[in-house]
Amino acid sequence: MYAIDHIDCGTPASASEKLVTIEIDGHAIAVPEGTSVMRAAALAGTSIPKLCATDSLKAFGSCRLCLVEIEGRRGYPASCTTLVADGMKIRTDSDKLSQLRRGVMELYVSEHPLDCDGCPADGHCELQNMAKLHGVTDNVFSADGRCSERITHESKARVKALMTDDSNPYFSFDPSLCIACSRCVRACDETQGTLALTISGRGLASQVSASAGESFISSECVSCGACVEACPTAALSEKSIAALAKPAERSVTTTCAYCGVGCSLKAEVVDGKVSRMVPNRAGHANQGHACVKGRFAYGYATHPDRIRAPMIRAKITDPWREVSWDEAISHAASEFKRIQAKYGRGAVGGITSSRCTNEEVYLVQKLIRAAFGNNNVDTCARVCHSPTGFGLKQTLGESAGTQTFLSVMKSDVVIVMGANPTDGHPVFASHLKRALRAGTKLIIIDPREIQLTRTPHIEASYHLQLRPGTNVAVITALAHVVVTEGLVREDYVASRCEKDAFDKWRAWVSDPRHSPEATEAVTGVPAATLRGAARLYASAANGAIYYGLGVTEHSQGSTTVMGIANLAMATGNIGREGVGVNPLRGQNNVQGSCDMGSFPHEFPGYRHVSDDSVRHLFESAWGVELSDEPGLRIPNMFEAALDGSFKGMYIQGEDLAQSDPNTHHVVAALSALECLVVQDIFLCETAKFAHVLLPGSSFLEKDGTFTNAERRISPVRKVMEPLAGLADWEVTQKLANALGYPMNYAHPSEIMDEIARLTPTFHGVTYEKLDQLGSIQWPCNADAPEGTPTMHIGSFVRGKGKFFVTEYVATPERVNARFPLLLTTGRVLTQYNVGAQTRRTQNNVWHSEDTVEIHPHDAEVRGIGDGDWIGITSRAGETVLRAQVTDRVQPGVIYTTFHFPESGANVVTTDNSDWATNCPEYKVTAVQVVKVEKPLDWQVRFRQNRESRLPTRRDVTFETA
C-alpha cells in the first residue's frame, strides 16, 4: 500500500522531450512521447480505473480494468500498455466500458470478498475503491448463496491462518487477500532487483511465491519492503499497521537516518507515533525505494533503552544520577571552564556526529570554535571518508562525489571498488542493478566476492580480487594500461588538466614496474584480468567509479582516492552524466558533517582556519576571536589525553569506544579524561567513560537537514516530540549559553540561514526552497539556484584537474609466520554501523552475531569447521568469533563485520592510519586464528546482557516494533 498522500499516475513518467498532443474525452493535452494513455489521462485529471498498474512499475496489462476506447482502433485496449500517439482520440468512459469493468470487478470480488472490517487496508485498499466505484458489493456468482466454492466463515479463518506467511518480522503475506496482480513480483524485480518473488501455479491457482515456494524469511527476500509498498490490498502489509488497526492521521516527509543514500521517507503517524515508514516516490535519491533498515528498522527510536533524562556522576566508577537539564548543562559547563582554567584553552575539544543534522553539527563546531575558543573539533568522518575529502580536494578541487545516484543509469561501465552496495547502500545498489540488467558492464575491485559479483541477471565482467592493502598498486596498474595502450583521452586531458603534473604522472606511470605483470605478485590480480578491466573501463563512452570504505580505510587511503581521480581524468570520465568519482558515504550525514566544518583545520565549506579572510568572516558573524591554528584530530586527542594535556570532551552522537580502532588504546584515553560529556540516544560504549550523559534525540524528533553522498541536502522533519524534551541542537545551544557564549536560535531554519550566509556553496539554500524542490544538491548559489546535480562540467572546481603521482607504499601491517592471515572488515545489509540502532530492532532476526568468513583451505589446515568458535589474535589484541567457512574470501584473507560490541573487531585492529588524514586502517590487520572452545569472558557478558532483551534468529518472537 503506497503512502496515504500519494496520487498514482499508473505508469512511470516518460523521459522523452518530444510532446505529442492527444484528446482525452474531448479535451486536448500534450504529453511526452512514450507516455501511456493511462498516465496522460491522469495528467489531464482523469483517473482511469486500475489495479495492476502503479507509477513505480512498468505497465503490465493484467487487471483489464483500465480498458478504453480509441477512435479507429478495434476492441478495448488497456490504457496502461497503450502509448499515446499524435492525434489519438481516447474515450475513457462509455456504457460498454462500464459494463466490462464491472464484469472484471465482479470476478475480483468473487475471489476476494469484501470483508473489509478490521482489514489493515480498509479505507486505503485499491480493490475496495474499485469495487465501490463500479457498484460491486457482492459475489454475483454465488447463486442462492450456494456458490460452488463457498466455504464457511470459520473454515475461511482457519485457512487464512494456515496460509498466512508471518515469517518476516515486519510484514505478513495473506494469500487470501491477494489478487495476483504481480505488483509485488514486479517490484521485487524492477525496483529492488532481487527477483525473490514469482507467481507459481496457473489459472486461479496462480499464487505469489517467495523463491521456490519458501517462506519469506527463508527465501532470497531482503525485506526491502518494495513488495509491501506495491501491494494494492492488504495481502502484503506491515505488521505494525495490522497491530494498530487504525488509519494513519498524517504523513510526514523526512529523510532516512541510516546510510549515505539518504532516502526520502514518509512517516505515517497514529496516536503521535510512527505507524509505518513508506518510501517517497518523489524522493530524488531513492525514487520510491528503501531498504530493510530505513523502511522497517525505526523501532529503536522508542526502544526502552533510550536515555530519557540527563545524568551525571563524579567518577566513571560511580553510579549515574538522574538530574534536570539545567543541572546537567551547568555541571558540564563548569567542568569545561574548570579544566580550561587549569590546563589551558586547548585542553578540551569535541566530536560532531555524522548522524545528527547539518544544523546540529554546525552548532557543535561553532560551540567548540567560539565557546571553547580552539579548533579541537573532529568528526567520525575521520574514521571513514576523510581521505575522500582530502584526495578529491587535491585533484578535482571539491571534497565530494561528482554525480547524482541516478547518473549510473547512463553509465556504460561501472567500477565498484572497496564497496558492497547491496549491503552498505542497498537503494543505490538497486539503481545500479537496474543499469546492469539493462546492459551496463561491471568491474569489481574487492578482496572478497560481493553479491554483485554474480546475482540474478547480473555478472561482473571482471572481479579484481586483490590482496587487502594493495589498492594503490592496482589503481596505478590500471592507469599504466590506459597510458601505455594509448587509451588516454588526450583532448580531454589537454584542455582540462594541468599539463606539467600530467606529463610528470604519465612518465611515472608508464614505468614497467607499474605494469600489471609487475604488480601481479603483490596484488594477486592476474595481469590479463587487470588489462581486460582497464581496457573495458577506458574504452567506455561513460565510465563511472563508485567506491567505499575499502578504498579509504587504509594507510594509503588518500593515495588511492587520488589514484582513482587520476584514472577518471585520464579517461575523460568526469564532468557529465554517467561518469564520475563517487564515494559511497557510510553514514546518513557524513557528507554534511564534513561540509559543516567538523575538521580541526577547516571552517564550514572546507576553508582553512589559517585563511584570514574566511576567519574574519566568521569572527565578525560570531562576534568572537577565532584561532588560526588547526586543532587536534581524534587520534591526537587520544594521544594528548594519555599524555595529560587534554582533559575534557563533548561527544555528540558518536561511539568512539566501539567504532574506533585499537579499542584498548581508546579506552585508556577516554579513561584519562576529567570530564567527558556524551550526548547520545543510548547508553553507548563511550558513555561508560562519561561523566555527563545528555539524552540525544533521534531523527524522528527534530527538524533539520541531512546531506547524502550525492551532496543532496534533504529535509528532516519532526514526527514526534523529543523523548527527553529537547532536540540535540537545543542542548548544544544551552551548553553554549552556559559556557557564556550566547546562542539564540528559535528554529533550525535560522541555523541554516546562518550557514547559507557564511558558506558560498550553500548561499542559495533555504528551508522554503527545500520544501519547494524536495531536496537540493550543493553547490547552490547564484550560479546554480536549484543546486548542482553534476559537478565539474566544463572545468574542474580547482580550475585545472591535477594529476598526482601515487607511489605504492605497502602498509607496515605485514603477514608473517606469527600473523599469517589478513583480516578485513565490512558490513551486512540488516545491521548498521556499530549496531546501536539496528540491534535494537527485529533486524537481529537476520544477523544476530558477527561471524568470521574464512576460506575452506585456511579453515581446513586449522581444523576449523563452520560454526566453530575461533580466536583471532593480532598485534593489538584478541577476540573470539564464530567461523563461517566460505570461498567468498580468498585464501589468506578473513573477513568480519563489527555490528555487535562483543565482537571486538576493533580490539584487533591496529592504530595504523592514512598518512594524510589519519583515517584508521580498519581493512588490513595481520592475524592468526585458532579454534577455541568459547568466547572470551567479556564477550559472554555482553552477549548475555543483550540476549536477555533482544530477539535472535534462533529465538524469534515476532513483536511489532
Binding site: 493484467s62 483489464r64 480494468l65
Partner: protein, 747 residues
C-alpha cells in the same frame, strides 16, 4: 516369487484385465479362482483355463459385500487347499463428471467396490498369508490416475485409485516380508470397464448404459489387456511394488511396428520406416515398391506378414489387407498435398532421401535471391499463419527484415497443444527437413542467424526426429556458418516446452524460450520488433514454415493458385473425434466441412448422426449440421463466428452433451490459463460455476444473463486468445443447442 504350483484368487476375473491376469497366471502354472460379479463370465474364463489344461474355479462374488467375498474366498481356499496370490482387480468406472457434480451415491458405489472391496479380500487373505509363512503376493489394481495423471471429469475415479495406492503402500509396510504387495497402474486398457454402470446397485443409482463413445475409445486406443497382464505376472515374479504399464503405449505401438518390420526383414525384405501418410485407420500401413508404384496393405500385424508374403506381396488384390496403389487411394488421390507431399514417402532421418525427393530446391532458389525478394515471394504466395491467427506471413517477415538490428531470430512454434491436432507432429516426425528448410529460408531472408524450434515435451519422438535431422542438415552444410556455401550463417536448435498450453501463444513462448515463466506479454511491441531476448523475431507455426520451401521451389504463383478468396494455398485438416476414418487431409482452401466429414471422415465412427463439430481446437466454435456446408476459408468461418485455426476437426455424435462441452471449454481455459489477466484467470472458473448453477436449476435465467456478461468480459477483456476465445465454444453451443442447457436433476 514363483507362480508355478501356487493358487490365485482373482476378483473381477471374468472380463478385461482380470480375465487376462487369470489366463496369464494359469499359463504360468497357477491354479486360479476366477471371481466375478458376473457368474457367467467367470465360468467362461474358468472353462477357458480348463480348456488349456489348467486348474480353475469360477465363483460369483460381490466384493463390496464382505459376506459375499468371504463366502467365495473360503470356497476357493477349500477348493485349492490354500491360496498364495490375491489379485484385487474388481473395479468400476463411474460416468465422467466434474467433481462438484458427482453424487454421494456414486461416491459410495465407487469406493465400496474399488477400495472397500479390496479391503474385504485383504482382510480375508492377508492374515492367512501371514500365518502360512510362505511367500505370498497381493496385487491391487490401481490406475495411472493413482499416480496423479489428471483427468478432468474423472475426479471420483481418481480419488478411489489414489486410495488404492495409499492403501497398498501402507499395507506393504505393515505386512511381514513374506507377503508382497504390487499396485498395478495401467493407462487406458481395451476392456469392458466402461460398462460398469450397467451393474450399479439399485440403492446407489441403479443400472445405466455405459457410454459407448468411451467404450469405442477404449477398444480402439486401449492397450490389450494381455500386455498388462504380462506385466503383472512379471511384477509378481520380480517382486516389484509399482507395476506401471503406461506410458508404454508409445513403446507398445513401437513394438508392434518392430514386430512387423522384423517379420518382413526375416522374409528378406528391406524395411524403411517412413512418417505417417495420415491414413490412420490403415496403420501400420505397409507400402511395397513395385514398378507401377507403391502398393499398400493395412493395417498389418506381425501375424499377417507370412500370409502377405505367401500371397505374393505387391500383386494387386491378392490379399484382404491390400488397398491397391497407395497414391490411387481415394482418400489421398483427391487431396492436394503441397506441404505434405513427401510425408509417408521419405525416410525422415535421411537427408539424401529428402534431396532425392526435391528437398532444398526452395533454399537454393532463396539463396540466389535477395532477402527482400524472398520476403516478397512469401507475401505474394498469400501464405497466412497456419497456427490459427492467419496473419500474412510475408508481412511479418518484412517487419523483421526492415529492423536495422544485427541480431535477429527465427522461432518455430511447435507447441501443438490443441485437442485433435497433429499436423505439426506429422511433419516433424515424417518430414523434418521441410521444416528445417523453411526456417533456414526465413533466416537467410531476414538476416536471422539463429532459429529455435519450440517443441512440446509431449512429443519426444518429434524432438528426437528434429535433432537427428538438424544434425544431418548441419553435417551436409545446410546449417552452420555458411549455409550451402553462401557465406550466410544459420543455426538451429530445439527447445523443449514444459507442458503449458499458453506457451503456444507467441509471447508466452518467447518468455519460455528465454527461460522465464510462460506468461503472456503485452503487445506492442510486436515480436517482429522486440521478440526473443528483445530482438526482432519471426514467430511462425510449423505448418507456415513448412509451407515455405514449396513456395520458393515452385514459385509464389503456384502456391497462390490454390485456395479461395483471401485464403490461399492449402490447409492441413486433421480429422479426429467420432469419425470413421481419422487422418490428415491437405486440401486447397474452399473444401466444405461436409465434404471433409463425410467424403474423408466417412461419417461418425459410432454410426450415429454427427451432431456438432469443433473446428480449430478447443477454443473453436461448435458448428451444427446446418453449417456443415461452410467452405474452409478464414473469412467464411469468421463470418459464422467460427475459426479455421490450426485445422483440427473434432466430430461429436448425437449423444454429445453440449452443456458439458461448453463447461469443458471453461474448464480447459481454467486449467491452462497463465493466470496473468483477470478475465481468463478468474472468469474461466466462474464460467464453469455458472454452468453448474444453470444445470442445477439455481436461478437459471440469472445464470444465463451472467454467462452472457461473463463471455463479453472474457471476449473483450482478455489479454490473449486463450481467455478471449473461450466464449466461442460456449456461446456457439448455447446458440445452436439451447435444449442441452435446460436445468436437469442432479445425478
Amino acid at each position: 516369487m514363483q507362480i508355478r504350483g501356487r493358487s490365485a484368487f482373482v476378483t473381477g476375473g471374468g472380463n478385461g484385465i482380470g480375465r487376462a491376469i487369470a489366463l496369464a497366471l494359469a499359463a504360468e502354472g497357477a491354479a486360479v479362482a476366477v471371481a466375478d460379479l458376473d457368474a457367467a463370465a467367470a465360468a467362461k474364463v474358468a472353462a477357458e483355463i480348463a480348456g488349456e489344461g489348467g486348474r480353475a474355479l469360477a465363483c460369483q462374488v460381490e466384493v463390496a459385500n464382505e459376506e459375499s467375498l468371504r463366502e467365495a474366498a473360503s470356497k476357493a481356499w477349500e477348493h485349492f487347499g490354500s491360496i498364495g496370490i490375491l489379485v484385487n482387480n474388481a473395479g468400476v468406472l463411474p460416468p465422467a463428471r466434474p467433481l462438484l457434480a458427482t453424487s454421494d451415491e456414486d461416491w459410495r458405489w465407487v469406493f465400496d467396490v474399488n477400495v472397500r472391496g479390496m479391503l474385504h479380500a485383504i482382510r480375508f487373505f492377508a492374515p492367512r498369508f501371514v500365518e502360512g509363512g510362505e511367500p505370498c503376493w497381493i496385487v491391487n489394481t490401481g490406475s495411472e490416475h493413482s499416480l496423479g495423471v489428471p483427468h478432468l471429469g474423472a475426479g471420483l475415479y481418481t480419488a478411489s485409485k489414489h486410495a488404492v495406492l495409499g492403501l497398498s503402500d501402507v499395507l506393504r509396510r505393515e505386512l511381514p516380508a513374506s507377503v508382497g504387495v504390487s499396485v498395478l497402474c495401467p493407462g487406458m486398457v481395451a476392456s469392458s470397464l466402461w460398462r460398469s454402470t450397467e451393474r450399479r446397485p439399485e440403492a446407489l443409482g441403479g443400472s445405466r448404459p455405459g457410454h459407448e463413445g468411451v467404450g469405442a475409445a477404449m477398444e480402439r486406443f486401449g492397450m490389450p489387456a494381455a500386455v498388462v497382464a504380462a506385466a503383472v505376472v512379471r511384477g509378481i515374479q520380480e517382486e516389484t511394488f509399482l507395476v506401471v504399464t503406461h506410458p508404454h503405449a508409445v513403446e507398445y505401438a513401437e513394438s508392434r511396428w518392430q514386430e512387423v518390420a522384423a517379420a518382413f526383414a526375416a522374409q528378406g525384405f528391406e524395411v524403411v520406416r517412413t512418417g505417417s501418410r495420415g491414413l490412420f485407420w490403415l496403420e501400420p500401413l505397409v507400402e511395397v515398391d513395385t514398378p507401377s508404384g507403391r502398393f499398400g496393405y493395412g493395417p498389418v500385424g506381425a501375424a499377417d506378414v507370412g500370409g502377405l508374403v505367401a500371397a505374393g506381396i505387391g500383386a494387386a488384390g491378392s490379399h484382404p489387407l491390400a488397398i491397391g496403389l497407395v497414391e490411387d487411394h481415394p482418400y489421398l488421390k483427391s487431396q492436394q498435398r503441397l506441404t505434405f507431399k513427401r510425408i509417408g514417402i521419405v525416410d525422415p532421418a535421411s537427408l539424401q532421401d529428402y534431396l532425392d525427393h526435391g528437398g532444398y530446391a526452395g533454399l537454393r532458389n532463396a539463396l540466389a535471391m535477395s532477402g527482400a525478394e524472398v520476403v516478397q515471394a512469401v507475401t505474394d504466395s498469400g501464405l497466412r499463419g497456419r497456427g490459427g491467427a492467419a496473419f500474412p506471413t510475408g508481412i511479418k517477415w518484412k517487419t523483421v527484415l526492415d529492423q536495422p538490428v544485427e541480431q535477429k531470430y527465427v522461432t518455430c512454434n511447435a507447441d501443438e497443444g490443441d485437442s485433435g491436432t497433429f499436423a505439426d507432429r506429422l511433419i516433424m516426425e515424417g518430414d523434418p527437413f521441410t521444416l528445417i528448410e523453411g526456417m533456414t529460408i526465413a533466416g537467410v531472408a531476414v538476416g536471422a542467424t539463429q532459429g529455435y524450434i519450440y517443441c512440446r515435451v509431449e512429443y519426444p519422438e518429434s524432438i528426437a526426429a528434429l535433432r537427428t535431422a538438424i544434425a544431418a542438415a548441419r553435417a551436409g552444410g545446410y546449417l552452420g556458418d555458411s549455409v550451402c556455401g553462401s557465406g550466410k550463417p544459420f543455426e538451429l536448435d530445439v527447445r523443449v516446452a514444459a507442458g503449458a498450453y499458453v506457451c503456444g501463444e507467441e509471447t508466452s513462448m518467447l518468455q519460455s524460450i528465454e527461460g522465464k515463466r510462460g506468461e503472456v506479454r503485452v503487445r506492442p511491441p510486436l515480436p517482429a520488433i522486440e521478440g526473443l531476448f528483445g530482438k526482432p523475431t519471426i514467430v511462425n507455426n510449423v505448418m507456415s514454415l513448412a509451407s515455405v520451401p514449396v513456395i520458393l521451389d515452385k514459385g509464389a504463383a503456384h502456391y497462390r493458385d490454390f485456395g479461395m478468396g483471401r485464403s490461399r494455398g492449402t490447409i492441413a485438416l486433421q480429422l479426429a473425434g467420432n469419425l470413421k476414418r481419422g487422418g490428415l487431409v491437405e486440401r486447397a482452401f474452399g473444401v466444405t466441412l461436409r465434404e471433409v466429414l463425410y467424403d474423408y471422415g466417412g461419417g461418425s465412427a459410432s454410426g450415429r448422426p454427427i451432431k456438432a463439430v469443433q473446428v480449430g481446437g478447443p477454443l473453436g466454435a461448435y458448428l451444427p449440421e446446418s453449417q456443415f456446408d461452410t467452405p474452409l476459408d478464414y473469412e467464411a468461418f469468421a463470418a459464422i463466428g467460427a475459426l479455421v485455426g490450426h485445422g483440427g476437426i473434432v466430430a461429436f455424435d448425437d449423444t454429445a452433451d453440449m452443456a458439458s462441452l461448453a463447461r469443458y471449454a471453461f474448464e480447459f481455459c481454467a486449467y491452462e490459463s497463465c493466470g496473468k489477466c483477470t478475465p481468463c484467470r478468474i472468469g474461466s472458473t466462474r464460467g464453469a460455476n455458472v454452468i453448474d448453477n444453470l444445470l442445477a436449476g439455481r436461478q437459471p435465467e440469472r445464470q444465463k444473463e451472467l454467462l452472457g456478461e461473463l463471455c463479453e468480459t472474457m471476449l473483450h477483456g482478455s489479454l490473449c486468445g486463450l481467455g478471449g476465445m473461450t466464449p466461442f465454444p460456449v456461446q456457439s453451443a448455447m446458440k445452436h443447442f439451447p435444449e442441452d442447457f435446460a436445468p436437469r436433476s442432479r445425478h
